[in-house]
């Protein structure tokens, strides 16, 4: 076995992709990085797709988009490479960092841990879909005001997860925010101001 093959054998995403269809597998593996992120409900059709490209329709930010992807393509790659929605970031590509968080039917999901084919028939909201009509979501406005970002590469994931938290808990405590965002990584060190921003956004009108 080559070193490269060895590497692939040990990645969870390779395993996930290897499942091929993998509705159930994808759902299990899209498990939350923290208490704040819930697994999406399975949407398995039981029909085998692939291995070649198949046409699928994704409902992203309220718009139905049709594209052709191989079943192994993750939702993250489909969004970024096929639909040019690059707000969701590819940082670890194996569910370790939260940078690719999107909302699937309102719940935060790591787009690198879900296959695009498993996202059919779901409502997908990316960071690009949070601001409406040029108006920032309160979480986004609060992030800017509190300077809860530096390089900004982790920011979309945090913003999406924070929005999901506030949808569920109207006025979270600092501890609840830390718990909910505990699976998201930032290397510039913006965490204190992120917690501040999320709490400040709580209760503001969207």
């Amino acid at each position: 076995m080559s070193g490269r093959a060895k590497r692939r054998a040990f990645t969870r995403r390779a395993f996930l992709k290897g499942i091929g269809l993998g509705s159930v597998g994808a759902t299990v593996l899209a498990a939350p990085p923290s208490k704040g992120t819930r697994p999406a409900a399975p949407a398995g059709t039981g029909r085998t797709l692939g291995p070649g490209a198949v046409a699928i329709t994704l409902k992203v930010n309220g718009v139905a988009r049709t594209l052709r992807v191989e079943p192994r393509v993750t939702l993250l790659d489909a969004l970024r490479d096929r639909l040019d929605l690059t707000g969701s970031k590819k940082i670890c590509d194996r569910g370790e960092c939260g940078g690719c968080a999107v909302l699937v039917d309102g719940s935060p999901v790591l787009a690198c841990m879900m296959l695009a084919v498993d996202a059919r028939h779901r409502a997908i909201t990316t960071v690009e879909g949070l601001s409406t009509g040029g108006r920032l979501h309160p979480v986004q406005a609060a992030f800017i005001e509190a300077d809860a970002l530096q390089c900004g590469f982790c920011t979309p994931g945090f913003v999406v997860a924070a929005k999901a938290l506030l949808d569920e808990v109207k006025t979270p405590t600092a501890e609840q925010v830390r718990e909910a965002l505990g699976g998201h990584l930032c290397r510039c060190g913006t965490y204190p101001r992120i917690v501040e921003a999320v709490r400040s956004a709580a209760g503001r009108k969207g």
């Binding site: 940082i91 800017i144 970002l149 699976g183 290397r187």
Partner: protein
């Protein structure tokens, strides 16, 4: 021509006026007397909206029409001869558009000469040799492909056939020092030691009332900027455009021009948004070259972004260290001698020196440092936020605390006893500010803490310093349009520090506007406005003086255009609060109305960074204090609070400066408690090249952090600004380790302070 100017230097607590010689063309220096209305305020970053909405396009996000995706095949062997690479099957795979192999030992030789990273510094000579290429670490580049999708590119890599002749390797620091260790380079693994000395350390130790000596170790750390290294390359005719995730667009441009033997004017490098760098992203590097090579071969744009594993194998790291430190002091705490002997490995690169803090921070008449790089079959080191300083600070500050404990002195008092005083230095005030913020008076001697029960609290502190200061060349242009729009243009890059916003703050100060009214153009070599790479805390110190000078020239042109309408002399005009006002006659006009008086569509002024002024300081300082809680049952350390008082000369944007202090503290905390690259000696591979097993701090590890920015008036340039990127990461690990030792009553001498290290220290204490 030089002119003598009077400047007031110092801090809020004390100032003094000195004469300095500056070029005649320089604007009046922003010294202690300067009355500024915009600079020093708190401003949300100008690119905030682009970043929170996902609209900001980082290099990773650039999608070009017809773009291909590149992938690199890397060596699984830590040391091997590369006998043959066969890409024919990969090339035949549907969707593969280009392949490249790197069998020739001289393939990257041109890059070795020019790459700022110094990638295989020691191997550069060998790469010019004939015969099979020797692979020096697991993760070195073997071949590359470009294909229609990333998945096809991945498939293609699996079809590449490579024959290696594995050679014995060594990846462990101590193993590499043994005489019979496999040789990484033909002349062995021990590089010549670097020796520096002042005074006579042996005489110093004889004068000492207390002498402490101990050995400290620190781990190899990985940068892990969240955006990996990579580039998107596109050739049009003989001209190359590259979007690069880089801290230095001009360095990348020059590397690529040299590698592809084209004039640098035919290479354009863009980095509008950058997902972090921390020192690992200088120069085109192999990644940039391979992207451009594949694009050339395929005749199509190629995106080549590394994955997280590659990022952690082959793009840089902070070397580890073993530091033997011996310090002598008089009964009152005055230092008499410091002797440091250290070694560490930057893999096949260098840079394991740690002596900066020992040589720079405290007054001591006798200092000797001996440092040595050890070569191993591991990825090369790159500068990592304050290279050498967090390691050196950990050993130095720990030993000073041990001396203080031995002499029954307060650790802060001991630092103050050895203070190097200067009027243009705010460290003494920073000590007091941070000590007050943490409640230093609550610190108890270790023996008292040890009686507290299983959960113990402790306090510790450390000092930050950093001494790079930037300088020319750095150029900027400020343009005022007749409709009132203002542009500030400099080719520099914003690595997340807030460079873009700071540029706007200075321009707004000069023109009497608000920062959000300034359009900033950066991250593009096509601006022609040169900037040094953003590393070493030199970005603002280099570019802001040029920006300020350009803005003043543009403003003066505006004054000349509007003076007749205000019946004023141009020299009597001032710009403030969005208006141009006659100080004598009192008439004024809105800035936009003044701009409408221009007889051209725009006026533009360019200026260059002058040399640093002689006779003023170059260092930034800081003091950090930590309070921790240690569970002696589990060995778990929880950092409760950190107070960090810093200066960057004159603070430009308080909001983003505080963020940068927070960031340094958090990175230092992560280094202190969690981070360590683990290599497997038998196979020579990195065991944790990902973000799960290589743990970095997240929200649940966060203490309460109090960032305190103070102004120090020490103008070595017209803006009076100093560097802030590196200093906040320097003393954090030291302050935490000192707090842990204070809590436990036994020194912890090994980073990271994982539970096993804590429990081992406690066991040592019980045995003693």
């Amino acid at each position: 021509m030089a002119a003598t100017r009077k400047v007031k230097i110092g801090t809020a607590r004390r100032t003094e006026t000195i004469d300095i010689r500056v070029p005649e063309t320089e604007p009046p220096i922003w010294d202690a007397d300067a009355k500024l209305t915009v600079v020093g305020g708190s401003y949300p970053r100008l690119d905030g909206a682009a970043k929170v909405t996902g609209k900001a396009r980082y290099t990773f996000d650039i999608n070009r029409p017809g773009m291909l995706h590149g992938r690199i095949l890397r060596s699984p062997h830590a040391h091997a001869r590369l006998l043959a690479v066969d890409v024919s099957k990969a090339a035949r795979l549907a969707g593969v558009k280009a392949t490249a192999t790197f069998e020739s030992p001289t393939f990257f030789a041109a890059l070795d000469e020019t790459d700022e990273s110094g990638k295989p510094v020691e191997g550069a000579g060998e790469k010019a040799a004939t015969g099979p290429r020797r692979i020096l670490f697991a993760g070195e580049e073997i071949a590359a492909v470009a294909a229609l999708t990333p998945d096809i590119a991945d498939d293609a890599l699996d079809l590449i056939e490579v024959r290696y002749e594995p050679l014995p390797h060594v990846v462990d620091l101590e193993d590499a020092r043994k005489p019979d260790a496999p040789k990484v380079f033909p002349d062995g693994n021990q590089r010549p030691a670097t020796v520096w000395s002042a005074g006579d350390v042996e005489a110093g130790f004889r004068e000492a009332d207390a002498v402490v000596e101990a050995t400290y170790t620190t781990p190899v750390a990985l940068h892990n900027a969240l955006e990996t290294h990579g580039a998107v390359a596109e050739w049009q005719g003989g001209k190359l455009t590259v979007w690069a995730s880089t801290q230095g667009v001009f360095g990348v441009r020059d590397d690529l021009a040299k590698f592809f033997k084209v004039p640098s004017r035919d290479v354009r490098v863009i980095s509008e948004y950058l997902g972090g760098g921390f020192g690992a992203k200088f120069g085109a590097g192999v990644t940039g070259v391979v992207a451009a090579l594949l694009a050339k071969k395929a005749g199509a744009p190629v995106k080549l972004m590394l994955d997280r594993q590659e990022e952690n194998l082959a793009t840089g790291n902070r070397p580890d260290s073993v530091q033997w430190l011996k310090i002598g002091a008089k009964r009152n705490g005055a230092l008499t001698a410091i002797h440091l002997r250290s070694y560490g490995t930057g893999g096949i690169g260098g840079g394991a020196g740690v002596s900066g803090p020992v040589r720079m921070i405290y007054a001591c008449p006798n200092i000797k440092t001996e440092e040595q790089d050890i070569s191993t079959n591991a990825g090369f080191a790159m500068p990592f936020r304050a290279p050498g300083f967090p390691q050196g600070s950990f050993a130095l500050e720990s030993t000073l605390d041990e001396i203080a404990d031995r002499l029954g002195l307060d650790p802060l008092a001991l630092r103050k006893t050895n203070y190097i005083d200067r009027p243009n230095k705010g460290l003494m005030e920073q000590y007091d500010l941070a000590a007050r913020a943490i409640g230093w008076e609550r610190r108890r001697p270790p023996a008292e803490n040890a009686a507290a029960g299983p959960i113990r609290r402790g306090f510790g502190m450390g000092t930050a310093t950093w001494g790079m200061y930037g300088g020319p060349p750095a150029d900027a242009t400020v343009t005022i349009h007749s409709d009132g729009r203002v542009e500030c243009i400099c080719g520099t890059q914003d690595i997340g520090t807030g460079t873009r916003t700071a540029m706007a703050v200075v321009t707004a100060e000069v023109l009497g506007l608000k920062p959000e009214q300034i359009k900033v153009v950066l991250g593009d070599t096509a601006t022609g406005m040169y900037s040094p790479a953003s590393g070493g805390s030199v970005t603002l110190t280099s570019i802001l003086p040029a920006i300020r000078a350009a803005a003043e020239l543009a403003r003066d042109k505006l004054f000349r255009a509007v003076a007749p309408a205000l019946a004023a002399k141009p020299e009597d005009l001032e710009a403030s609060g969005g208006r141009v006002r006659d100080r004598v006659g009192g008439r004024s006009a809105a800035f936009t109305a003044a701009a409408a008086r221009l007889k051209s569509a725009l006026i533009s002024a360019q200026a260059a960074r002058a040399d640093n002024y002689p006779g003023v300081g170059i260092e930034s300082f800081g003091a950090q204090f930590a309070e921790v809680e240690v569970d002696t049952g589990t060995g778990r350390v929880r950092v409760l609070r950190i107070a960090a008082a810093h200066d960057a000369g004159r603070t430009i944007n308080r909001l983003t400066a505080e963020s940068q202090v927070n960031g340094g503290v958090i990175m230092g905390l992560s280094y202190a408690l969690l981070e360590r690259r683990v290599m497997d000696a038998p196979t020579g591979i990195v065991m944790n090249p990902n973000l799960e097993d290589y743990k970095i701090a997240a929200t649940l590890e966060m203490p309460e952090i109090t960032p305190i920015m103070m102004d120090v008036y020490d103008p070595a340039n017209n803006a009076g600004v100093k560097g802030l990127g590196e200093p906040p990461v320097v003393p954090t690990a030291a302050a935490i380790a000192n707090a842990v030792s204070n809590a436990l009553g036994v020194r912890v001498r090994d980073l990271p302070l994982t539970p096993d290290v804590i429990l081992a220290a406690l066991a040592r204490k019980e045995q003693a």
